[in-house]
């Protein structure tokens, strides 16, 4: 007991450092494990989509169709509303910035490229994360708590095939379509503002756009949207599957799923742009 203070001080510091490092390591390992789980889930979903019917356990197209309605069609109003708003906002800022050089007319170039390559897919991705990613996490989390996942398992119905694969199909189809719709609506909103503010006719705006945007630019945006759709689904499913501890757990993991999938989208967006544009 007599030497406790000095010794305690030293070991206290080193213990704290080890604890911090240990914690960091644990978090790192957990993050890597989660990514691995995502890869496994993706692999299994693809497996069931292509091989399921040979095993007598096909992925139900009706389930995928239902998810398409829920995740795609029902998201149209909010995507449309946000896209028009953002289109107008971009036009306002674009004109303001270019006025410095007296080059307001050039706003179409900036608008066209930024919307099709970035804003359309990104805004769609963020909206879908908030809407569908969270609902996936909450739904799977609740199913886990109420033992519905266990019930599927003991009925010999693979949960990945039954729940994840249809969601993945639906998202992969619907998110790029939504992004394409967002592109169109956003540009229409921007075009409306530009034509009012600068006195350019709407058809002239469209004409300028068609000279600026190439199919490549649109594909760049839409392939990102496809990538986002997979990310959002996997992040939602993993977080839902990781739920423990009742209603509070569902809430926590739902929040986590939204935060993680939006972060994942933004980082992927940057990396994708870096890799394909340089």
């Amino acid at each position: 007991m007599a030497e406790a203070p000095t010794k305690g001080g030293e070991t206290g510091l080193s213990a704290r450092i080890t604890a911090i490092l240990g914690n960091l390591g644990k978090k790192g390992v957990a993050a890597i494990a989660e990514m691995g789980l995502g890869a496994v889930l993706f692999g299994q979903s693809v497996f069931w989509i292509f091989v399921g019917h040979r095993r007598g356990q096909p992925v139900r197209l009706k389930a995928a169709f239902d998810r398409c309605m829920e995740m795609g069609i029902q998201a149209l109003p909010i995507v449309t509303m946000m896209s028009v708003t953002i289109g107008i906002m971009l036009a306002i800022q674009g004109i303001y910035a270019l006025r410095v050089f007296g080059a307001e007319e050039q706003v179409t170039v900036g608008l066209g490229l930024s919307v099709v390559r970035e804003f359309g897919p990104l805004i769609t991705g963020i909206l879908v994360s908030g809407r569908t990613g969270s609902s996936l996490a909450a739904r799977i989390g609740t199913m886990r708590i109420s033992q519905e996942i266990d019930a599927l398992e003991v009925m010999g119905i693979n949960p990945v095939r039954f729940i994840v694969a249809p969601a993945l199909i639906a998202m992969f189809l619907m998110v790029p379509l939504l992004a394409f719709w967002a592109d169109i609506v956003m540009l229409a909103g921007a075009g409306w503002y530009v034509s009012v503010d600068l006195g350019i006719s709407f058809s002239a705006f469209v004409q300028r756009l068609s000279e600026t945007i190439t199919v490549n630019d649109i594909m760049h945006g839409l392939s990102k949207a496809g990538l986002f759709s997979i990310l959002i689904t996997l992040v939602g499913v993993i977080n839902g599957a990781g739920v423990s501890g009742g209603a509070e757990g569902v809430g926590r993991m739902t929040t986590r799923s939204v935060v993680l999938s939006i972060s994942a989208i933004i980082v992927t967006d940057m990396v994708f742009a870096f890799v394909t544009t340089r």
């Binding site: 109420s146 266990d150 019930a151 003991v154 009925m155 010999g156 119905i157 693979n158």
Partner: protein, 281 residues
């Protein structure tokens, strides 16, 4: 002899000694992380038998059930279900084996997005190529068996606790399983509904010849339905025997369980102090 409870004829238990086993568990050891839950379980369930696995909370009975259902991989030991080694067969074989077993979960585990009928029909739809009409007839038949006819189109959220249990039973037996597992069938039900569920379990065994494994902590229900009872305590089997044998047991822990006596934990004073001050070594 004039006690009202004696008036009804006692339920005649069939003689099952010598019936072949449908479940054989040998030296089963299970861990959760580093915590050892089951310490070498040996148990046999015979064909057509109602085996009740009884124990208090934390006795390991849910873990044992999850291991039997193939939801939790054991550390060591062997489980044979209908002659197949549950943990040594391939996923495809396990999925086929699972079509021969039914499970009624504690909370029902009905899919909340599907109606009662859709829930019950789901195993048929996923595993058979029957046409829809045949499946509907089979599902309705099973709903009749569990006394739930007429509630086909309700959603699970619209059902009462007892009805959820019945629907779960109907879904569990829709594929005519050889073995039926029930997790706490009478938990959360009032005594009358609970006893109706007990009747249902017995009638399923008698009418369909299923072997039934029931996990429960309810003594009354256990004594009523069991052919044999397996008493679990802290991951060990205290005894396996008929209702009368369990009642007559002079094992102190079993008597405590039967008489609902709580056990005083004997603690070493040092240990107690450590626990109070939460000092970890």
């Amino acid at each position: 002899m004039n006690h009202p409870l004696d008036a009804a004829p006692a339920y005649q238990r069939p003689d099952l000694t010598g019936a072949p086993p449908v479940i054989e568990i040998k030296n089963l050891v299970t861990h959760y992380g580093s915590r050892k839950i089951l310490h070498g379980i040996n148990l046999e369930v015979r064909e057509g038998e109602v085996m009740v696995i009884m124990g208090g909370s934390g006795s390991g009975k849910s873990t044992l059930l999850n291991t039997l259902l193939g939801l939790l991989r054991p550390t060591s030991g062997d489980i044979r279900l209908l002659g197949q080694h549950l943990w040594e067969i391939s996923d495809v074989e396990r999925s086929q084996l699972r079509q021969k077993m039914g499970v009624a979960f504690q909370g029902g585990a009905l899919f909340s997005s599907l109606s009662v009928l859709e829930n019950i029909i789901l195993p048929l739809r996923e595993h058979t190529k029957l046409d829809l009409n045949t499946m509907l007839i089979m599902a309705r038949l099973k709903m009749q068996v569990v006394n739930l006819a007429g509630f086909e189109n309700l959603m699970p959220s619209e059902l009462s606790g007892g009805m959820i249990k019945r629907a779960a039973f109907a879904r569990a037996i829709v594929m005519d399983p050889k073995v039926l597992f029930c997790d706490e069938p009478s938990a959360g039900l009032d005594p009358i509904v609970a006893s109706a569920i007990d009747d249902l379990i017995l009638s399923l065994r008698d009418a369909m010849g299923m072997s039934i494994v029931v996990v429960t902590h309810e003594l009354e229900s256990a004594f009523r339905i069991a052919d044999r009872i397996c008493v679990l305590d802290k991951g060990h089997i205290l005894m396996i025997g008929t209702v009368d044998e369990v009642r007559a047991s002079d094992n102190e822990r079993i008597q405590n369980l039967l008489n609902r006596r709580t056990e005083e934990e004997i603690l070493d004073p040092d240990e107690y102090l450590k626990r109070l001050t939460a000092v970890n070594e």
